[in-house]
C-alpha cells in the first residue's frame, strides 16, 4: 500500500506542480491568476444558466431535476472525454518504461493511470457541478448535511463515466494495437465514435420521446437515461443508506472489475502500441534530398508532428468535423437544423427570419468553430525536449512561431473553405455575404491560431508525460478552449442581438483583423523573447 501511495505521489507530482504557488518572484502566482479568473467566469456563466433553469423548474415542483441534469451533462462529457484521453493517458505515457521496470504490479500502474484521468475529470466536472450545487442550495436550504453530501457527490460523480470512457478508449487502443498502421486505425475508430455521438445527438428527440412515452414520471426518465443521477438526487433530498450503498457499489465494483480485467491485457496493449514500424528496405530516391526553405521545412515538421499524434488530430478535428457536419446538416435539412437552433437557443425568432439570415447564421458557425479549433495552444508544449533542437537552429524565433500559425491555418482553413463552398453552392446568397464569409474564414482561424500560440507561450508544458496531457489536460489547452468558447459566444451573441446586420458582421471582421495584426506584433516582439527563454 505504501508503495502505491508513493507511486501516486510521484506520478501526480508533475501535474500538481502547477498548483504549487511560489511566493518569491510571484511568477507562478501570475500564471494561475488568469486560469482561476477564467474558471470563475465559466462557473458564473454556468451558474447563471442553472439559475435560469431553476426558475423554470421550481414553480413546477421539479427543482430536484436541476442536479440530475447537471450530473447527466457532466457524465456525458466525462464519457466522451475519457474515451479519447484514456487512449493516451493509459497507454502512451512517457514513463511507461520506467514504471514497467519497477517491481510493482501492472494492476497498480493501470490503476494509477485511471486515477490520474479521474482526478482531472473531477476538477473539470467541478466547474459544472459547483455552480449547480450552489444554485440548488439557494433554492432549497443549505445546511451542513447538504454541503457534505454535495462534496461527496462531486467527488463520486466522475467515477462511473470515467471508467466507461476508459473502457471505450481501452477497446479502441486494443483494436488499433493489432494493426500495423496503429495511429491511422486509432484515428479512424475515434472518428467513428465521434460521428456516432453526433448521430445520437441529432436523433436525441426520438430517444427522448421514446423515453417520455415509456416513463411514469420525470424521475423515471432520468433513471432510464442515467441511473446514478437518481441515486445522487435521492441522497441529497433525503439521505438513504441503501441508496448510498447501491451508489457506492455501482461506482466502485465496475471500477475494480475494470482495473482487474483491464490489467490482464494492459501490458500487452501498451507494448504493442509503442512498437514502431520498422520501415521497408531503403530505396534511394532523388527526391529524398528535396530542398525546402527554412519556413517550408518548419511547416512540414509541424504538419508531421500533427499527423503523428492521434489525440492531436482528434482534438483539433473536433471543431472542424462539427463544422462539416453542421454545414452538411444545413444543406441536407436546413429547416430541421434551423428549428433545432431555435429550440436550443430558445429565441423568439421566426423560422422565416432565420431562413433570410442563413448567411449570418453560417457566419456565426464559422466564427464559433474557428474559436473552438485551437491547434496552436498545444504546439509549443508538444515540442517537449525537442525545443532545444528548435532553439539551436539558425532561424529567427519569429519564423518558428510563424510556422506554427501557418500550420494551424493550413489544417483548419481548407476545411472551412470547403464547407463555405458547399454552403455557397447550395444557398443562393449575395456577393457581399460570400465575401464576408470568405474573409471571416481567414480572419477568425488566424486569430484563434495566434491567440492559442500566445496562451501556449505563457503556459508551456514541456515535460508532459504524453501528448494527451498536453492536448487535453494542460493549462494552455484549458484556457484556449474556454476563452475560445467565451469569445465565440460573445461574438455570436453580438451578431444575433444586433439583428444579424451586415454592418455588425463587417465591424466584427475588422475588429478581429485588427486583433490579428496587433497580436502578431505582440508575438514578434514579446512572444519571441518568451520562446527564447523556454527551457
Amino acid at each position: 500500500m505504501n508503495k502505491l501511495i508513493t507511486l501516486i505521489k510521484a506520478t501526480m507530482s508533475q501535474d500538481m506542480n502547477l498548483f504549487k504557488i511560489k511566493r518569491k518572484n510571484g511568477s507562478k502566482i501570475s500564471k494561475i491568476i488568469f486560469p482561476i479568473f477564467l474558471s470563475i467566469i465559466l462557473m458564473f456563466c454556468i451558474g447563471t444558466y442553472a439559475w435560469g433553469m431553476a426558475e423554470i423548474l421550481e414553480p413546477l415542483g421539479l427543482i430536484h431535476v436541476l442536479l440530475s441534469i447537471f450530473i447527466i451533462l457532466t457524465a456525458v462529457i466525462t464519457i466522451f472525454e475519457g474515451a479519447y484521453k484514456s487512449q493516451g493517458i493509459l497507454f502512451e505515457a512517457r514513463d511507461n518504461d520506467l514504471l514497467f521496470s519497477l517491481p510493482i504490479t501492472k494492476k497498480a500502474i493501470f490503476f494509477i493511470r485511471a486515477l490520474k484521468l479521474m482526478t482531472f475529470q473531477l476538477l473539470y466536472n467541478s466547474l459544472f457541478l459547483i455552480p449547480s450545487v450552489i444554485v440548488y442550495g439557494i433554492y432549497t436550504k443549505i445546511n451542513i448535511y447538504y454541503c457534505i453530501i454535495s462534496i461527496l457527490m462531486i467527488i463520486m460523480s466522475p467515477i462511473i463515466p470515467t471508467f466507461i470512457g476508459c473502457f471505450i478508449g481501452y477497446v479502441i487502443k486494443g483494436i488499433s494495437s493489432k494493426f500495423k498502421s496503429k495511429k491511422a486505425v486509432q484515428v479512424i475508430l475515434s472518428t467513428i465514435l465521434l460521428l456516432g455521438i453526433f448521430y445520437l445527438s441529432f436523433n436525441k428527440e426520438k430517444l427522448i420521446s421514446y423515453l417520455i412515452q415509456n416513463a411514469v414520471n420525470i424521475d423515471d426518465i432520468i433513471k432510464k437515461i442515467y441511473y446514478p443521477a437518481v441515486l445522487f438526487n435521492s441522497l441529497i433530498i433525503n439521505f438513504d443508506i441503501t441508496n448510498f450503498i447501491i451508489l457506492l457499489a455501482i461506482s466502485i465494483i465496475p471500477a475494480i472489475l475494470f482495473i482487474y480485467l483491464g490489467s490482464i491485457f494492459y501490458f500487452k496493449i501498451s507494448s504493442k502500441s509503442s512498437e514502431k514500424g520498422i520501415s521497408k528496405k531503403i530505396t534511394v530516391k532523388n527526391n529524398k534530398y528535396n530542398v525546402k526553405t527554412p519556413l517550408k521545412a518548419l511547416i512540414t515538421k509541424e504538419l508531421k508532428r500533427f499527423f503523428s499524434s492521434p489525440v492531436f488530430i482528434i482534438n483539433a478535428g473536433f471543431g472542424l468535423v462539427l463544422m462539416a457536419v453542421a454545414t452538411i446538416g444545413l444543406v441536407v435539412n436546413s429547416k430541421g437544423l434551423i428549428d433545432g437552433i431555435l429550440n436550443g437557443m430558445e429565441l423568439e425568432i421566426s423560422a422565416e427570419t432565420i431562413a433570410q439570415k442563413i448567411s449570418k447564421i453560417y457566419f456565426c458557425l464559422v466564427v464559433f468553430m474557428s474559436f473552438m479549433t485551437s491547434i496552436t495552444s498545444s504546439m509549443i508544449s508538444l515540442e517537449g525536449k525537442n525545443i532545444e533542437i528548435t532553439k539551436s537552429l539558425p532561424v529567427h524565433s519569429k519564423k518558428i512561431l510563424l510556422s506554427k500559425i501557418i500550420t494551424s491555418n493550413l489544417i483548419s482553413i481548407p476545411i472551412i473553405l470547403i464547407c463555405d463552398t458547399i454552403f455557397f453552392v447550395y444557398f443562393k446568397i449575395s456577393i457581399l455575404d460570400i465575401l464576408l464569409i470568405t474573409l471571416a474564414s481567414f480572419v477568425f482561424p488566424t486569430f484563434s491560431a495566434i491567440l492559442g500560440l500566445i496562451i501556449n507561450l505563457k503556459h508551456p508544458k514541456l515535460d508532459a508525460n504524453s501528448d494527451t496531457e498536453i492536448v487535453k489536460q494542460s493549462m494552455s489547452s484549458f484556457i484556449a478552449v474556454f476563452s475560445g468558447m467565451l469569445l465565440g459566444m460573445a461574438t455570436t451573441a453580438i451578431t444575433v442581438i444586433n439583428g444579424m446586420k451586415n454592418n455588425v458582421v463587417i465591424i466584427e471582421i475588422l475588429v478581429f483583423l485588427l486583433a490579428d495584426i496587433l497580436l502578431w506584433q505582440y508575438i514578434s516582439k514579446i512572444g519571441t523573447k518568451k520562446f527564447e527563454k523556454l527551457t
Partner: protein, 238 residues
C-alpha cells in the same frame, strides 16, 4: 573560434550553476570540457549554442555575440546534444534534411555529405526508418550526421560518445581530427578522460561552476595522467 567572457548563469535567481567562466577556443582546436556531474558543462554548452538565456558575460562565435547576433552565430555552429531528443515522428533522412533546410544546404552538397556520413556510421539502410524506432546510439549517430551535414565551422558536442559503439567512437574521433586539420573549432564535454587525453589539443576542468584548470594537455596534466589530475582536483575543496 569561441570566446567565453565572464560567463555566469544563475538559475531561479539563487543557484549559480556557472560562475565567471572565461575560455577561448581557437580555430583548429579540439577542446575538451570535463567535470563531474552537475559541474556546469551542459549549462555552458547550451549557453554557447544560444539555447539558454544568460544574464552575465558574453559568448562570441568567430567574433559575433550569441546574445546580439544569435542567428549569425548559429549558422556557423552545429550541436550534438547530450541526450539525442530528436523529432521522433520523423524518419532519419527526414530529420537530417530538415536540419539541412534550416542551414540552407544545397541539394548536391547535402546528398554528398549525408551519404558519406551515413556510410561511415553504417546507417545508410536505416535512413528511411522512423527515429522513434532507433536505439540511443542510433539516434546519436543521426544527431551527429545532422550536425555534420552542413559543414559547420564550430562543432559543439555534449557527451558525444555516450551510447556509441566502438567503431562509431573511432569514426567520430577521426572526423574530429580531420575537422581540426581543416581549421574548424571543436568543443565537447566528456567523461571519458582517455579520449580527451588522446584527442584534444586543450582541456578545461570545471568544478562547481568554476574553471579550475585550463591549458594544453601537457600544461594541465604534466607527467600525470589526466584521470589522476581530474580526481585530485575533484578531491580538493575548491
Amino acid at each position: 573560434m569561441i570566446e567565453i567572457k565572464n560567463f555566469s548563469k544563475i538559475y531561479n535567481g539563487e543557484n549559480k550553476a556557472v560562475d565567471d567562466v572565461n575560455l577561448t577556443i581557437n580555430s583548429g582546436e579540439i577542446f575538451a570540457f570535463i567535470g563531474h556531474n552537475g559541474a556546469g558543462k551542459t549549462t555552458t554548452i547550451k549557453a554557447i549554442m544560444g539555447i539558454l538565456d544568460f544574464e552575465e558575460g558574453d559568448i562570441l562565435i568567430n567574433g559575433q555575440s550569441i546574445k546580439k547576433n544569435p542567428i549569425e552565430c548559429k549558422k556557423q555552429m552545429a550541436y550534438v546534444p547530450d541526450n539525442p531528443d530528436l523529432y521522433e515522428n520523423m524518419t532519419a533522412i527526414g530529420f537530417i534534411n530538415f536540419i539541412c533546410d534550416m542551414y540552407e544546404v544545397p541539394k548536391e552538397e547535402r546528398k554528398e555529405r549525408i551519404e558519406k556520413y551515413a556510410e561511415i556510421f553504417d546507417i545508410k539502410d536505416k535512413l528511411n526508418n522512423e527515429i522513434s524506432s532507433f536505439s540511443h546510439g542510433m539516434k546519436q549517430k543521426v544527431a551527429i550526421i545532422a550536425a555534420l551535414s552542413h559543414n559547420p565551422d564550430v562543432l559543439i558536442m555534449d557527451e558525444p560518445f555516450v551510447g556509441l559503439d566502438p567503431k562509431a567512437v573511432f569514426d567520430i574521433k577521426e572526423i574530429m581530427k580531420k575537422m581540426c586539420q581543416e581549421g574548424k573549432t571543436i568543443f565537447f564535454s566528456t567523461h571519458i578522460l582517455e579520449v580527451a587525453e588522446k584527442l584534444c589539443t586543450r582541456v578545461a576542468i570545471i568544478k562547481n561552476g568554476k574553471i579550475v584548470k585550463v591549458g594544453s594537455m601537457d600544461e594541465v596534466k604534466g607527467d600525470e595522467s589526466l584521470e589522476k589530475v581530474f580526481l585530485e582536483l575533484d578531491d580538493k575543496n575548491i
